[in-house]
């Protein structure tokens, strides 16, 4: 991995400055069944294609943000701050 990632605060930086924290998943709203809970905790979609995911600028400004990345090519389409009002 040696692509560049656009930190919403710092601009384009080497991917080694960041930590990948997995695909964005939907946290159940209320009392999930065991099956729903297991799916949320353990199952990942693992798409070959465009994926929305979490990144953390650990060796930089310590910002959490989301990126849309094509997992086949590592092309990063967008990076943005999280709108926490949007239900995740």
């Amino acid at each position: 991995m040696s692509f560049l990632l656009q930190c919403p605060r710092c601009g384009p930086r080497d991917v080694n400055e960041f930590v990948y924290a997995g695909e964005v998943s939907l946290r159940p709203k209320r009392s999930p069944t065991l099956e729903e809970l297991t799916a949320y905790v353990y199952l990942r979609r693992n798409v070959a294609g465009i994926q929305r995911e979490w990144w953390f600028h650990r060796f930089g400004c310590e910002l959490w943000f989301q990126a849309e990345r094509d997992t086949r090519t590592n092309e990063v389409l967008t990076t943005e701050l999280v709108d926490s009002n949007r239900q995740l």
Binding site: M1, S2, F3, L4, D14, V15, V19, A21, R27, P28, R30, S31, P32, L34, L37, Y40, V41, Y42, W54, F56, R58, E62, W64, F65, N74, V82, S84, N85, L88
Partner: protein, 860 residues
Amino acid sequence: MRLPPQPQERVNRERSLAFLFEGEPVQAFEGDTIASALFASGRRIFSRSFKYHRPRGLLCCSGHCPNCLVEVDGVPTVRACMEPARQGAQVKAQNVLGSLDRDLMSVVDKIGGPFLPVGFYYRTMMRPRRAWPLYERFLRSAAGLGRIDKHGKRTHRFDTEHRRAEVLVIGGGSSGLAAAHEAADAGRQVVLVDDGLAEVGPAPFEVLSPARAIGIYEGGLVPVDAGNVLYRFRAERIVVATGTIEQPLLFPGNDLVGVMLSGGARRLIDRWSLRPGERAVVLAAGGEAIAVDLRRAGTEIGRVFEIGDQAPKEIVARGRKGRLSSVAVDGEKVECDLLVMSGGRQPAYSLLAQAGARIEYDPARGIFVPRALPAGVEAAGSVTGERGPVVHPAPAYSGKGKCFVCICEDVTRKDVQRALAEGFDSIELAKRYTAVTMGPCQGRLCHLPSIRLFAGETGRGLGALGTTTARPPWAPVSLGLLAGRGHEPARRTSIHHRHEELGARMMWTGDWRRVHSYGDPAAEVRAVHEAVGVIDVSTLGKLLVRGPDAVAFLERLYPNRFADLRVGRVRYGVLGTDAGRIMDDGTIGRLAEEELYVTTTSTGAEVVFEWFQWWNAVWGFDVEVANLTGALAAVNVAGPRARELVGQLTSLDCSAEAFKYLDAKRAQVGGVPCLALRIGFVGELGYELHFPSSYGEYLWDTLLERGADLGIRPFGLEAQRILRLEKQHIIVGQDTDSESNTLDANMAWMVKLDKDDFVGKWALEHMHERGARERLVGFEMENGAVPAEGGQIVVDGRPAGRVTSARHSEALGKAIGLAWVPPELAEEGARIQIRVDGRLEQASVRLRPFYDPEGERVRS
């Protein structure tokens, strides 16, 4: 012997120097390479081949082939033809048993051939199995090129530097230079990388030479090896001008000493004023031009053979003791000591292929050419494959004797035929099986010839065969450069030097250097129980959580309730994940309505900080989290006389009524502004003081001085581990693992399942319903043996659990510990067996703290 001065000569005849080769002094001029100086001294054998230990001499003189690999000042596998001769350098031959001229291992060439065919190591030396260690020892000593000094120390520093360039030009030949000048003239910031073969004079742009681009990676990253520095270049435009590589011809005897590529022979003449041989045969397209250069150097020309589509058919070179003596071409034998050959020039496209270019066979030119270059990457000059003479040599010329396809790995034409017969008929499979293109030259001299040969032997077209994948590194690179500077990050507390002065034994906990003990852990434990001890706990993670939603935020993160935590009070909490697993623990103190002070484990500070930030990015609470871990130092003053000691140093009322257990107060202690927490990890009356790091040594010294009369002792982690074990206080990561949950770890009291939501709530609800699968309990041994951490709990002869901590407690006179056991055994007094040194020892379960079970001391 040198020729009269040549126009492009690189040596300075005014300045001579000397180095040692195999212990013998060798004279050289400034500007010589090790190889040119050795050649001038009369040396013709430079190395022994990888497998057969055949003598090998100079072939390419441009850093491509493996024939001049030597050890220089302890560094193995140095290309002598590229390495400048240095005064006093110690140069040694490698891969020889005996000497270069008489290598005992060359017996392999005489008799080993039939027994060591391609892939022999996959098939032979299998039986008897018990003899394998013997085979292995032999193979290990025979395999590989060069030796590294296993006890060698770091001799110099390697660094990594991140660089940017508007235009990065790779290759300093005429096309590379032209591209660099053009871009520089247009006002672009240009960096040119050259391996040192081209003479790049003063230029209006930055020149890195000698330096090698070792690959083009994803995102256009180009690492450049500049000796002691690895530059990681990002460029807007990458111009690859790596030129072409002259290809050898395949015929029996093509590896004899005296067989050279035309470029190598020319370089010897032009740069180092050396006569490459006395009597030469030229085998090349356009051979006359080469002959002219050779004559200029005083070499007699025996014969010039043009290489074309039709002729010749048969070429056999013969030698004496590995040195060329004659060449027979279609039956015509010519005596010679030099054979200059050229099988055409293949574009050095590897970097372009790595960047994503498509590599295609061009049947008209008989070479592979790069096509469809990716954006931002350009090719300039002959690497495009669009110029230069066209040569169509035969895939191989027949005749008797070993015909080498790959001189790095000693792969012969016969090996390739055998691989094909065995069914390795895809070029990628055959590459892996025969190891052709996998040696030091990385296919520079064998990629095209091996594919030609494959096509010839299988009757398939070269275009249909395709090429093997070009992978980094394109140029050899020392491992030290990739490893970079020797970083072993260590974090030290502000009190660290005091510990060293006290002769403390230090240990690693994560990145932190912490005190194991000051020499006598048992005495340290006694001091805490009987008088007062002090431990440096600056490594604890310290987070400040502030804002209108601070309490609500922490209530969502921890299973605990904090809404009812009064200002000035502290509560123990365990962080969990949504899977219900324990991730960290610590204390949460409410400093003000909207301000909470959170401590984490020493190794968990960063993880917890990121965890907090992440959840807040999701939830968007009105709260700020600051990581104060490095900003604050902390010490824990513990023991029955701790109150006396702290009381002396502060105006704060330290009485049991005014400063209760689990109180948090701001106070000046010894004049230092502190946050004092009355908590008791070690089970005695204690004060954890958090204060600005800069006061670390001062407050530490003050405590030790003022505590001297009270019998104070500093204590380390070992004493702390015994003390907390006596109280059955857990250490996250030691007594819990990635599967442990708060309920099974006996901390159900803190889990408030009636809260609306918290991280891990749903999983804990399911776990609560399901019931415990195992329980964390205390145990004491009946005979005092201390089991190993990780030791097995045995029930009815079957493993049923594991010991997580165990120590001898002097205070109790017993061996005690913590263990995970089946839930039915989690009962006071239940008898379990623990395996200790192979024997089963009796132990009984204890659910309450061993020491001060009512907590009277800690609350006193």
